[in-house]
Symmetry: C2
Subunit: 332 residues, 2 copies
C-alpha cells in the first residue's frame, strides 16, 4: 500500500526564514514584516530574470545571517522557481558552495522543498538544510503571458504573480517544527483557462487535504490555520465549498497567502497573489512569526502548483495541479 502521511520522529526546526519582496508587496498588509524590500523591483539587476536571481541570493544570505551561519555549514539546499529551466535558482544560488537539488513544482515549490528537506532531515542524513524559492511579477508575466510593456488587459479571475523570494533554514532547535508531511499527486480536472489558475489548482488541494483528514482522523478545527499558497479568491471559494460538502468544514480556519499579501480594494490585484514567492514570503514573514510568538500552535501549510507551460497550453493540454502539505507546530 502506498505510504500517505509521514510523521517525522526526528523533526526539523525551521530555525530561520527570510523574505525579499518588491514594491507592491511592501505596500500590502504584510509590508512591515518583510526583511528586504526594493521598491524598484530591480534589485540592482538589468533584466527581470537577473532581478529574480538576485532576490534568491539575498533571501538565502539574509536567512544565513540571522543564524550567523557560513555557506559551508549548510549540508544541502533545495530550490526552484517558475522561469524556464529554473534559471532564477540556478544563477541566484551560484555563489553558494552548497550541494544543490533543483526542484520544479511551479507555485508549490516552497512546500515541495520543505517537504523534501524535512524528510532528508528526518532520515538522519543531513543536519542543516536550506530551502529557497522565488517568483518575480515581470519575469513571470513575459514568460507565461505578455511582457508587462505590452499592457495586456487582465481577466477578473487572473492572479498577480508576487515579486518575492523566501528562504528557510532547517535544523536542530526549538519550534516551530515540521512534524508531518504529505506529498501531493498531480491532478487534471479539465481546467484549461490560464487566467483561472485558482480553479486549476483547487482539485489538487482538495485531494491532498482530503487524504490528510481521512488518514489522520483529525478535523479542520484542530488547526489554528489551514494555509494554502495561492488559490486566490476563485480557488479558495472552490476549495472551501467542496471540502465542506465532503464533511471537512475548513472555511473558519482557511487562509490563503494570495489573499493575505495584497489589499483587495486598494491594490487592484484581481483574484489575488500567486507564484512561488507568494507562499514563500507569507510563510516566512507572517505565519512563522505567529507560531514563534505563540499566537498559533498548529498549522497546515499547503502550497499548490499549476503544472503547465505556455507551450503545453498551445498544444491543447489542460492545466494539471499539485499540492504538497506540511504540518507545522510548536508543540514539543
Amino acid at each position: 500500500m502506498q505510504k500517505g502521511i509521514v510523521r517525522l520522529s526526528r523533526r526539523p526546526s525551521i530555525l530561520a526564514a527570510a523574505s525579499v519582496v518588491g514594491k507592491e508587496e511592501a505596500l500590502g498588509p504584510l509590508g512591515e514584516a518583510f526583511d528586504v524590500i526594493d521598491k524598484t523591483d530591480r534589485f540592482g539587476a538589468d533584466t527581470w530574470e537577473k532581478s529574480e536571481s538576485e532576490m534568491q541570493k539575498r533571501a538565502l544570505r539574509c536567512a544565513l545571517d540571522k543564524l550567523g551561519w557560513q555557506d559551508t555549514e549548510v549540508d544541502v539546499m533545495l530550490a526552484g522557481d517558475l522561469i524556464n529551466q529554473c534559471s532564477g535558482s540556478n544563477y541566484g544560488l551560484l555563489e553558494y558552495d552548497i550541494p544543490y537539488f533543483g526542484l520544479y513544482g511551479a507555485c508549490s515549490t516552497v512546500a515541495e522543498g520543505l517537504t523534501l528537506a524535512a524528510l532528508l532531515y528526518g532520515g538522519g542524513h543531513y543536519d542543516r538544510l536550506a530551502v529557497i524559492s522565488s517568483s518575480h511579477n515581470c519575469s513571470a508575466e513575459r514568460q507565461f503571458r505578455y511582457p508587462v510593456e505590452y499592457g495586456g488587459q487582465r481577466a477578473p479571475t487572473a492572479q498577480w504573480t508576487v515579486t518575492g523570494a523566501g528562504a528557510f533554514l532547517l535544523g536542530e532547535g526549538r519550534g516551530p517544527y515540521i512534524s508531518e508531511v504529505l506529498p501531493g499527486r498531480a491532478m487534471d480536472k479539465g481546467i484549461n483557462d490560464v487566467n483561472n489558475m485558482g480553479a486549476a489548482m483547487a482539485p489538487a488541494a482538495m485531494d491532498t487535504l482530503t487524504r490528510y483528514f481521512d488518514e489522520s482522523g483529525k478535523s479542520p478545527s484542530e488547526f489554528d490555520a489551514i494555509v494554502t499558497g495561492d488559490l486566490g479568491y476563485e480557488g479558495s471559494e472552490i476549495l472551501c465549498d467542496i471540502l465542506t460538502s465532503h464533511g471537512y468544514p475548513v472555511r473558519p480556519v482557511h487562509q490563503d497567502c494570495g489573499l493575505l499579501i495584497y489589499r483587495r480594494k486598494e491594490q487592484d490585484k484581481h483574484a489575488g497573489g500567486s507564484g512561488c514567492g507568494c507562499s514563500g514570503v507569507t510563510l516566512a514573514a507572517h505565519f512563522l512569526p505567529m507560531l514563534r510568538e505563540g499566537r498559533m500552535k498548529h498549522i497546515l501549510f499547503m502550497a499548490t502548483g499549476a503544472l503547465m507551460s505556455p507551450m503545453s497550453l498551445q498544444q491543447g493540454n489542460n492545466i494539471p495541479g499539485i499540492a504538497h502539505l506540511l504540518h507545522i507546530t510548536t508543540e514539543e
Copy 2:
C-alpha cells in the same frame, strides 16, 4: 561542517529499470538492450513534447510491469526533464496515482532523482520509489537551439540530444544497491558556448569526483567503471586530463553514456549523445545489467547537467554545471 558523502545503512536495491528510445538510439551499439523502441520517434503523439511525455509514461509502465507492481504500491515518484516547466514529466506521469516530486537538474536529473530517492529510502520513510527522466531530440532542439525542420548546421563540439526515457524502481531486494551518494554543487567556470556543453559540465564533474576521492580515500582503480552521463568527447577529455593531473587517473575506467549510445563513425553525432535520457537509458539498459550479471561489482554513476536556459544565455550569462554522484554496487 558541510556533509559530503552519505553512506546509506539502509541501501535501496534498484529492483527494476526500463528504457524507451527512438530510432537513432535503436541503431546504436546498445540498440538490442532497450525495452521499448519507436523508430518514428513519435510514440503515437502529434507533437514532440507529447511524444516525450508518452515515453515517460511507457518507461514507468514497463518498469512497473517487470515487477508486477500496481501504481498504488509506489510511495513516491521523482521525475524531471528538459522541457520548459518540466512538462514532459508533468503530463507524462499524470495518469499515475503516485505522489510526485518534480525535479530540475538538466541532464543530471536521473542522478539527482536517484540520489534523492536513495536518501528517502535510506531514511526509512518510504519503501518503494520511482525515478523517471527523459529527453527527446526534437523537443530539445526546438527549445534550446532551432526547430529540426530548419536544418541548422551543427558545430563539431555539439552533442546530440538522446530520444530516450529511463525509469527506475527502488526498494528492498537483491543488488545492485545504491550504497553512497554525493550531491553536486553548481559550478560556473566561464564557459558560455552552447555548442560545447561537455566543456561547461566538466568542471562540475571534476568537483564532485575530486570531493568523492578526497573524502573516501578510494582510488579510481577500485571501480569497474566511473560513468559520466553526457560529457561527450570534449567534456570526457577535459575531465580525464584534469583528474589525472590531480592524482586521480580515471581514464582506464572512465565511460561516458554519451559516447556509448551512438556509433561514432556511422552515426555522425559529432561530440556524442546528451540529455536527461542519455544517462537514464544507458544506466537502465547497459550498466545495471552488467552489475546484475556479475560483470561489474562497483560503479560510480555521475550525471552532469548544464543549468542554463536559452534566455539566460541571451542575457549574457555563462553556463553553470552540476554533477551528482552515486556509488552502485552488488556487494552484500
